[in-house]
Symmetry: C2
Subunit: 210 residues, 2 copies
Amino acid sequence: MSLRLGDTRQRIKNEATRLFVEHGVADVSVRDIAQAVGMKAPNLYAHFRSRDDLVNELFVEGYATYGKLLAEAAASAADFPSRLEAMLRLICRLHDEDIVRFRFLLLARHGSLAKLPPNHPYNPIDTLQRIIKAAMDRGEIPARDPALITAMLVGAVVQTATFVLYGRIPTPMTDLADTLVTACEGLVLYGGLGNLPCPMQRSHHATNTT
Amino acid sequence: MSLRLGDTRQRIKNEATRLFVEHGVADVSVRDIAQAVGMKAPNLYAHFRSRDDLVNELFVEGYATYGKLLAEAAASAADFPSRLEAMLRLICRLHDEDIVRFRFLLLARHGSLAKLPPNHPYNPIDTLQRIIKAAMDRGEIPARDPALITAMLVGAVVQTATFVLYGRIPTPMTDLADTLVTACEGLVLYGGLGNLPCPMQRSHHATNTT
DNA sequence: TGTACATCAGTGAACGCGCGTTCACTGATGTAC
DNA sequence: TGTACATCAGTGAACGCGCGTTCACTGATGTAC
């Protein structure tokens, strides 16, 4: 019974995620989700308190999961370029491994619902900004506005995923990882550190692609 | 009369844009817009065929206007770094000069409506990608996937505007222009051209900050 | 100058629709004796 | 083994609501004679 319940709950979450990605979060009704799962709308309320609750649970869960993995990836390396590379490669892998989930998070970022509780420990944006700030303080990378550099890095990755989503880039993210790493390094390192060698030296040398 | 009509039409557009930015395009009703303008909802239909028409007109108009200005800015310079710089500085200026309009375009990008006619001559994304492709073909910048580099540049700028919108970066875009230019140059130039000097030489020298 | 008419921005009332949600009910299944 | 009962996923019908939109109408204003 409770096994059955958990099973149905998960099926609802999966179908809802799929539909949200396919049609947009706003354009999927409770009846649509129920139909995809093979039940009638009222029964969804045996599993979720409301439609908003379902959306929120999907968002917070996914955001926290990815956030935790990103924080771990960042912590697994010592110098900044290696941290950045580890995070970027992880993101590409997560994208390709579960495209639907990744895209749901991409699309659900906006909208009045689906807000992560503030100061969430695994907010990936905060994690990234903290790492950047630390690297600047240590003089590893040019000291600029950490929030601005964070925005640019996040945007570069997110917009890439969006281009892949809309078919403008017809490639798995994993195949883009090398270029993403190089370009993001350039974004962070270039131009600010006087006679900064180019590319910057690091613990294990960077992979540069064409 | 026809003057009066045009006037009212413009007021509707202004108020609608403002409300869309403030509450999100999906969460503003025809009645909300009418109230803001100081009229009743049905009268909006004397000026626009439908709500969708209004949204679409705002989007296409804004997108085309900005797209045209960007194309002109790009054409005003000869080498790639100067073109990129001109476009970035223009974007910052356009943002600060009419924040509401800029943000409406930012928010309206998504959504099933508000699609620019395909192959629109002033689609700014296409313009940028064409310029990047040309610079790669001429060997001005490292040859990588033009769509990917385009995505990263667009993302870097758009996400920055989003951070400003949500108050994560409490600064006019114009104040960020220098860093944006430097970082975007790094994104494009870094790591791919063998012993590329750093920063790259150009016709009129780049402005590096910090 | 006064009167009749045309124009047209704007309105009140009402429409059908799809939405999220509630609630009393069903009916299959597991359990106790 | 048979019977009575508890559990609980799932359903049919209906709710109130706000939405975009329509339509017959108003009433101020400009114009012709």
